[in-house]
């Protein structure tokens, strides 16, 4: 949060934002850009996770679940030094000293996340993350790598300024006649080859609990029926609405 609030970050983002607005105006896109920015103000952070991981991620407060899940989980290292070294470099550049506490999500206008990362979409509760979330214009790991692990200013912002980050990045994708229905896919694109996913990344500091979720979108007919029903029951008991993916 503090990194995104630094005056040089704020100024640089403002500059990129104003330039994007200026160019959009020159292309007669002022009205559509205003609509896009309006939509972005209600965008949500969505985490795509597997069905089996949902219970574990949201287990805090349930001693039975936390105990046994913690017992089996203590390993997130990758094989070979090279892959972990790249991750470490990017993490140090972006989250010095607190990378273990960061969870990643993508900005969405529909509650649907990137499908290739998991089949359940957890839509995070705005009020529970606003004080501990930042947005980053790009996939931060790739971005850090491209910039030699020295992150230029102007690409991240606190949660409340997420629209600015998205406008600075995506205004050029708008045309004067772009319909509002296309906004979600401009903000987030699941690439056909999975190599070309494009999205605005959300970084959330601190643990997730069931209270962090506003609703969940579940895939239809996937995984064990009992596990799905137990999950739905737990969400229902916690007052979280469950949607089935269309």
């Amino acid at each position: 949060m503090r990194a995104a609030d630094r005056p040089e970050e704020v100024e640089a983002l403002d500059r990129r934002y104003r330039e994007a607005c200026q160019k959009a105006e020159e292309r007669s896109c002022r009205a559509v850009l205003a609509e896009f920015e309006e939509a972005l103000l209600s965008s949500e952070a969505v985490m795509a996770v597997s069905l089996d991981l949902v219970d574990k991620m949201l287990a805090s407060g349930n001693e039975l679940l936390t105990t046994y899940y913690q017992l089996v989980g203590a390993e997130s290292r990758l094989p070979g030094d090279e892959w972990d070294a790249q991750r470490r470099l990017a993490d140090e550049a972006l989250f010095p000293g607190y990378k273990e506490k960061i969870r990643f999500a993508a900005l969405s206008l529909t509650g649907i996340g990137l499908p290739s990362y998991g089949d359940c979409y957890l839509v995070l509760r705005d009020t529970m993350i606003a004080h501990r979330a930042t947005v980053f214009a790009e996939n931060s790991l790739l971005f850090a790598e491209e910039h030699g692990y020295r992150i230029p200013v102007g690409y991240r912002a606190p949660w409340k300024e997420r629209a600015k980050v998205a406008v600075a990045k995506l205004a050029e994708a708008l045309e004067p006649d772009t319909p509002v229905e296309r906004f979600p896919s401009i903000l987030m694109t699941a690439g056909p080859s999975k190599l070309t996913d494009r999205f605005v990344e959300v970084h959330i500091w601190g643990p997730m609990s069931i209270g962090s979720i506003s609703r969940i979108v579940l895939p239809r007919g996937h995984g064990s029926g009992v596990i799905r029903r137990a999950l739905r029951r737990r969400f229902f008991q916690s007052g979280i609405s469950v949607e089935l993916e269309a």
Partner: protein, 262 residues
């Protein structure tokens, strides 16, 4: 190739030189090309990775299938033990666990996890037994054994928690060693040995160390020696070999926080 598998997330990451692919439990034969940048989102909240070096694609598929089934089995047992869930759901969970139990590797994994910690206060063993009655004699048997062994499980767990931090390089190594001990079934072996008359501490020590040997844990033998010492002496009145008393310079500062195990 090298492979990292998460049973809970249901995918395997395949590392082939500079290329990265993932396969997923629903369709493991379909390889998805991934960019390095996808790692962050794929590994979001994942901490149960198992690494395999030098295996081929079909072995990776087999390991993914096993890891996913083990994760499901654990999930289902936790449903079975959860008093907040309705009885019919818990009974169905018992039936599904029973089907997975036919695979000895899954049965051993479940035993390894359950026997490594006393049942938490919000776990409902009586309700779980009721749900398993008639649904699965095998699962009922497991739960009854689990209930019988609770006092031993508690002793073994407390002894694990009491292993000094200075036998591990850091908190991560301590947690990793524990996770490996759980996955390799060390806790139920220790419980059985304590319960069984005539067990030999030397044989148990060799067994435990042997099961962790491949993991290149720096002080594996000392950890196991320390773990065994107190419960064994209490149970049988015989001392096992315990490492030498720590030098003053090795002792942690009094104010250093002790790691909080689950």
């Amino acid at each position: 190739m090298n492979v990292a598998i998460s049973g809970q997330a249901g995918f395997a990451l395949l590392f082939e030189g500079a290329k990265l692919y993932s396969i997923h439990r629903d369709n493991p034969s379909e390889r998805i090309a991934r960019h390095r940048g996808s790692l962050r989102l794929l590994l979001n909240g994942v901490d149960d990775l198992e690494v395999f070096e030098g295996i081929d694609a079909s072995q990776a598929e087999g390991e993914l299938s096993l890891a996913s089934a083990r994760a499901d089995a654990l999930h289902l047992v936790l449903i079975l033990l959860d008093p907040t869930l309705p009885d019919d759901l818990r009974r169905e969970a018992a039936i599904e666990v029973d089907a997975l139990f036919a695979d000895e590797r899954i049965a051993a994994y479940l035993e390894g996890v359950l026997w490594s910690h006393p049942l938490p206060a919000d776990g409902d063993l009586s309700g779980a037994k009721l749900a398993a009655e008639g649904a699965s004699p095998r699962v009922l048997g497991l739960l009854m054994d689990f209930e019988r062994d609770q006092p031993w499980i508690e002793i073994v767990w407390n002894a694990w928690r009491d292993i000094p931090d200075d036998l591990f390089a850091n908190r991560q190594e301590r947690d990793r060693t524990r996770a490996l001990a759980v996955r390799r079934g060390l806790f139920p072996r220790f419980v059985r040995a304590l319960r069984t008359t005539g067990s030999s501490p030397e044989a148990l020590l060799l067994d435990l160390v042997g099961r962790l040997e491949a993991e290149r844990l720096p002080r594996c033998r000392e950890v196991c020696e320390d773990w065994l010492a107190q419960p064994w002496a209490k149970r049988w009145g015989r001392a096992t070999r315990r490492r030498s008393p720590r030098l003053a310079s090795e002792v942690a500062e009094p104010n250093e926080p002790k790691s909080s195990e689950p």
